[in-house]
Amino acid sequence: MEPVLRLTGITKRFGALVANDAISLALGAGEVLALLGENGAGKSTLVSILFGHYVADEGTVEAFGKPLPAGDPAAALAAGIGMVHQHFTLADSLTVLENVMLGTEPLWRPRSRIAAARARLADISARFGLAVHANAPVGTLSVGEQQRVEILKALYRGARILILDEPTAVLTPQESERLFSTLQQFVAAGLAVIFISHKLDEVMAVADRVAVLRAGRLVADVARATTRKAELAQWMVGRALAPAPARSARPPGPVVLQLDDVHVSVAGRPPLRGAALAVASGEIVAIAGVAGNGQATLADLLFGLASPASGTVRLDGSVYAAHPRAVIGAGVARVPADRRGLGSVGELALWENAVIECVRTPRFARAGLLRRSEMRRFGRELVGRFDVRGPGLPDGPGLDAPASQLSGGNLQKLILGRALSIGRQGAGKARLIVADQPTWGLDVGAVAAIHARLITAREDGDAVLVISEDLDEIFALADRIAVINHGRFIETRAASDWTLAELGLAMAGRRAA
């Protein structure tokens, strides 16, 4: 069978970094090819070259037997390559139809041919079962529907090869299932699909063939039927992953964090409306929910950035503090979702970021004067203990490098390490850990390291609250799962009592009967 797309010897360098190293791949019609790899493995660079955003240093791209000019997105579109980006490129205030038509018409045409476009859109959505409301403004649609619009946009332009960049990252399980069946319809109709992901389960569910990238190299190109998850993971990471730490089955201890009928509003965010929840010592409670149901406000509340308008929040029975400094002082370890915007000060050195939460404690400052050597020693120890890696670490000059130079995973280890290094207040009291999207965008190795830390903390009797949109993570960590919907917890059960399907329904707002 003649491939519809052929990459030959693609090499792309950024300075000393080889992002793509002589990659050759072929994609056949009617095939779903999964492009699997950790962050920084070179997946995005490769599709950016395909789509003309980057120019490869070496190598060629052929589509339908004809060479594709380098660095020309318009040529890629004309050749029938369509791309669905992870972050949608839609205009919120325009309707679905207008978004789909955007850029397809010459500017000087006096009237746009709306009727013809509408008919064509209706035809395409009927053919692939992609129901959308052509006149609805895109801003009013759910994330899953917006993704459908993105796909329709590509199909409308005549895409025969569809590239999806981490399409499930924003979807509920049901929406993901639906997307997978849509992809099956595409390939049945003779289209070809490239599916980028770092999640093994969905790759096994949807792909015909799997290409694994690691550090810019193509390390495997195999049929799905001939491989297993463990094998893929090993290719992806380059080594066998350490097993997760064992977790004991003992019952949780006394309640550490208690929310009763809490209402919170933060400007520009969906509010909490009557949230009630308890987290006990020695358990991990995970908050599941579709993005935008109040998780960010809950995180702000527990980080000390917002205070409740009504209701009570208690930590070990006393009123929860309302300023980050007081929350830190009460022994709460906090890991924010936005590592670079909130969790770290990029311009400050690693060791400065390591002590920033407790710089006013007597250990690091006396009479307003910093004890710099003590601060550096603390930073060095933290970097070693939490396995923060980077150039010049753990013993070189890397400690003085600005935190912005750390990779996401290593920055997250630093932030988690910093949070966990806060001393417990008083003997016998458990500490509370609040982690918002703790492994968002991290690679498999870093995810395993962060999860291991959280499980170890649970074993040590800490109360752990994890907010996550990654259901794999939720099931991997949680003792109990609470589903948040429209600002309240609509159902909380032990993790073993949830099925994926039930959880998906609850996330969409439907209570189990």
Binding site: R325, G341, G343, S344, V345, G346, G368
Partner: protein, 344 residues
């Protein structure tokens, strides 16, 4: 790349400055080398030239520090000019008018004079700081516009309550008594001990930024206020404290000018030292110690341009152009280093 750029970019900035100003000098019809020679000679070429330059640099160091300290915490104090005048006025009010009435020993009065000047600048700037932290009013607007309010206030004082009756009707304040004036560092020049005080302040600001918890917090707030707040730093308090320090430095600039050079306040005592301080701070990349050479460079350009204009007939505006080109070139160079710009 990075090491080459870190050294090459500033050198490139100097080169660009030289070339652009050479073209302008040429355009003005003067010989380039002779003009540059006259500029350097006039700014740094003799004992007199050097002391003149350092005298001119003294208020620039203070206002440069005022801008550097504030900008580092992302509090954009554009009002150093007004704070300088208020500091000068407060110095004369305490040292000249109040001191004459109270009959205090000179050292006590001198200290009180400096404190009054610093407080005047601080308190004035704290209004903008509180507006910014409580009501989110942009401090660029408030500090810039209140400069004009201050100038009108000074004008009123000089024509009214603080007018020197012996000044033949000129709008100028009463003078400081001679025992409050700063001693000369070198006899028979204008260089006064205010320069030493300026150096001390630069050192103090550097130490403050590097070795105190407050300095650490101010840097964190300036680099990322959201993250600083998340980490438990009181952002508003840090901004207000920063404003108090910045205003105090600008106020001191006024006191030191009065006590070291003019001995009374006039409406034209500052040829824009407050605004030039911003340029000094930017040239110094907001580093307190680098403020000193940056201030001396700018002062030297202005002093040198005067004598160049006398020697070869190039207008003194060339100094403004050189300083402006140098500032732009350095800013561009910094961005090139920071973002590792490469041409392709």
């Amino acid at each position: 790349m990075s090491r080459v750029a870190a050294i090459g970019a500033p050198l490139g900035a100097v080169l660009v400055t030289l070339v652009v100003s050479a073209l302008l000098v040429r355009w003005a019809g003067a010989p380039v080398l002779a003009s540059f020679g006259a500029l350097l000679e006039g700014g740094f070429g003799s004992r007199f030239a050097v002391t003149e330059t350092l005298t001119r640099a003294t208020p620039l160091i203070f206002t440069g520090l005022a801008a550097a300290v504030a900008f580092r915490a992302r509090f954009f104090n554009i009002g150093a000019e007004g704070q300088l005048y208020l500091g000068a006025l407060a110095a004369v009010a305490v040292g000249g008018q109040l001191g004459g009435a109270l009959d205090l020993p000179a050292p006590v009065l001198f200290l009180a004079m400096l404190i009054a000047a610093a407080l005047a600048g601080s308190l004035w700037l704290s209004i903008a700081a509180v507006l910014r932290t409580r009501l989110a009013v942009d401090e660029v607007v408030t500090t810039l516009l209140t400069n004009f309010v201050v100038l009108l206030f000074v004008s009123w004082m000089l024509d009214g309550p603080m007018k020197d009756p012996a000044a033949m009707g000129w709008p100028q304040s009463v003078s400081l008594p001679a025992e409050l004036e700063l001693t000369k560092v070198i006899e028979r020049t204008r260089l006064h001990s205010g320069f030493v005080l300026a150096l001390f302040c630069a050192l103090a600001m550097w130490a403050q930024s590097k070795f105190t918890a407050f300095g650490f917090e101010a840097r964190a707030v300036g680099a990322n206020a959201q993250a600083a707040r998340f980490a438990g730093i009181r952002v508003d308090a840090t901004v207000i404290k920063t404003a108090l320090i910045s205003g105090a430095l600008a106020g001191l600039a006024g006191a030191v000018e009065v006590a070291g050079r003019t001995s009374y306040v006039t409406l034209d005592m500052s040829p824009g030292y407050g605004y030039a301080g911003i340029v000094v701070a930017m040239l110094a990349a907001l580093h307190p110690l680098a403020v000193v050479p940056a201030a001396i460079f700018i002062a030297g350009m202005f002093v040198g341009a005067d004598s160049m204009s006398r020697a070869v007939g190039v207008p003194t505006y060339i100094a403004d152009v050189i300083v402006a080109v140098a500032l732009l070139a350095v800013l561009v160079a910094t961005q090139i280093v920071r973002y590792r710009v490469r041409w392709r």
